[in-house]
Symmetry: C2
Subunit: 427 residues, 2 copies
Amino acid sequence: MPHFANNPAKKSWLEVSKDSDFPIQNIPFGVFITKDDVITIGTRIGDSAIDMGALQQLGYFEGIELTDDMFMQDTLNDFISDGKKTWRQVRNRLSDLFDENNPKLRDNKEHRDIIIFKINEIEMLLPVQIGDYTDFYSSKEHATNVGKMFRDPENALLPNWLHIPVGYHGRSSTIVPSGIPVHRPMGQTLPNGQSTPVFGPSQAIDFELETAFITTDANIMGENIPVNETEDYIFGMVLLNDWSARDMQKWEYVPLGPFLAKNFASSISPWIVTMDALEPFRTKGPKQEPTPLPYLQQKGKHAYDINLEVYIKPENVEETLVSKSNFKYMYWSMSQQLAHHTSNGCRVNSGDMMGSGTISGPTEDSYGSMLELTWSGKNPIKMKDGSERKFINDNDTVIMKGYCQNSSVRIGFGEVSSKLLPPFVRK
Amino acid sequence: MPHFANNPAKKSWLEVSKDSDFPIQNIPFGVFITKDDVITIGTRIGDSAIDMGALQQLGYFEGIELTDDMFMQDTLNDFISDGKKTWRQVRNRLSDLFDENNPKLRDNKEHRDIIIFKINEIEMLLPVQIGDYTDFYSSKEHATNVGKMFRDPENALLPNWLHIPVGYHGRSSTIVPSGIPVHRPMGQTLPNGQSTPVFGPSQAIDFELETAFITTDANIMGENIPVNETEDYIFGMVLLNDWSARDMQKWEYVPLGPFLAKNFASSISPWIVTMDALEPFRTKGPKQEPTPLPYLQQKGKHAYDINLEVYIKPENVEETLVSKSNFKYMYWSMSQQLAHHTSNGCRVNSGDMMGSGTISGPTEDSYGSMLELTWSGKNPIKMKDGSERKFINDNDTVIMKGYCQNSSVRIGFGEVSSKLLPPFVRK
């Protein structure tokens, strides 16, 4: 059923530029506010934002079992909760409606004027209310780099790493969509060589290049999701910049893990790209050696070939590409992460978000954080105005992009872009 | 203003036994479902549950600015969001309405029949929708005990512990109210002396004796709450059993902290006792040495004298008291925890929950976990049927109680009671 909407030969009557992340084969889902202050669920084709609330009111989803106001909501949670069959029916309907050969909406100017907005006329909001946010640590290259820098270069990976998709809980209340600026946090740090900590602005603000998947209601409390059933519960993916304050992290993280070094902000791209749209880009993940325990074993292709890029743009200066990575490098798959997460009966709800962890590739230019790219500040990165960066400066904007590309189609995420502001000053 | 409702001479026209946790000076808030399947916000006096939705419909909150359906909701989040002034007005109104000298409701049988239920006729639900759950680690005795057992007996406390109210994020989706049984989780562990992990039921299920506070909307993202303003944002407290699987915890927790060892379940007492009701039991906390950094410094009394007890009740066997502790032993105050949590600009919302961490006292019978009480299994505890416990057995019920008591009044939490079931079996 998804293949109908994935047909690479399909074209839309809406204009789509050749390098757009959003051809008619994508059909991502998001929430936006229109210039008339109406909040709606919508999708995007090319540079057109499509008001799905209006589409529903005008009868364009007839025949699909949906509650009356399904798309006139400010989050996708209820839609996601309806399950995979409904997601596919809606995506296929949109694919059909915007097909260049379908005159129904194409030739109805009155309806088009109600339904379609230019992308720069709307503002994207958070697509889901995130009940719980989990962040994994599933890139072997990243875990190895961090282990080399902070622990033992000879035994960089901790003993559990090859057996467990290591993860921890993050903060939901500070997840913001692309475009929302983030303040440099204040915090406790222990200056090098000193024995008492100080409190002040973090001096080591970093990005973490990640993706995240959004789940649907998966289980009742106590029940696990077998690894081979997990894909039924993954709605789609976004890009995630998991902002980190390295100096605060170093001081606070024992023994319970990172806390204030992470929970000041996490930024995501606003369009959720469905797993159906990403289907053509499945690929084999890295070989897992030793073989995982049976509850984590899976056959087939469970990695995805998603190109990832990070740019830093100082104020009034052109951006510099600082990292080129790929989601396919991840050691643990999203299926394994979800199977592990629920293996103890932990309940997973519609709209929960699970981050991949920093995605570092095998080469030095594919690392997913400044910590690794500059090797803890030893090798600063040059910007286009000649200035150097060990970490992120005030008023720098960090931009992450992600896209899949084969000979016939490009499916992308757009971007997550956020500016780092100086510390907040109370008025 | 709170002192009006705290007057120890006050009596209710509702029956209250001498040892009740819920005299008219308490007036806690909760959510329950009646025998007629109506969900409402309510309070409790003695063994009577009071339907505040019905009270509001019948006009008993007239004069207090409240939205029309404020108490006909299934969570307290909106009420808590209204702020301290409203909490106090409502608590004082209830105190007045149920005062033995007030005939208004006392002498209106028709209204009484609609409003008042016997406590065993209703079922308590979760009182709030918990957006984010944070757990601290603020008992010095607990942190020291754990450090002695697992790290270095000579340097039991980690270097950051005396400077930071160490905390981490927990899982909201598996917080359940008292009475809901919990399944023993499956998980990965590394058997002693072996180098490869196994997967199976945890063999070391523990309770953690904690309290937790519930917040109101505190700040916008980026802004901090100064330590001396934090009390405006704490609505009240509950008892918390932070279930833990020690064998899973030991294997998984480096470097990002506990995850599946904790997130299978956390149980809370269902009535939120307000900070106003606890006011007479303020006391001085332990001396903090070294002096905390300025953003954590506070004057006055910020601890609370709350007696805490833990019982284990094997099936068909009388319960055994296994721990007697007190909340006043906590090294870091709730104010310091909240000031620290927001010091980096982390947003705190209405209904967020922040746990104290395991509350261990100075003596061996006041430790807040089986891990400490049995000193990692070396000193098992005897039950009334002669059986021994190193950790919690299947079908044991763990019961935690909490109450404040002075010469004139007792303010209590009731209990959080939950049974440990065998591992979940998929049907």
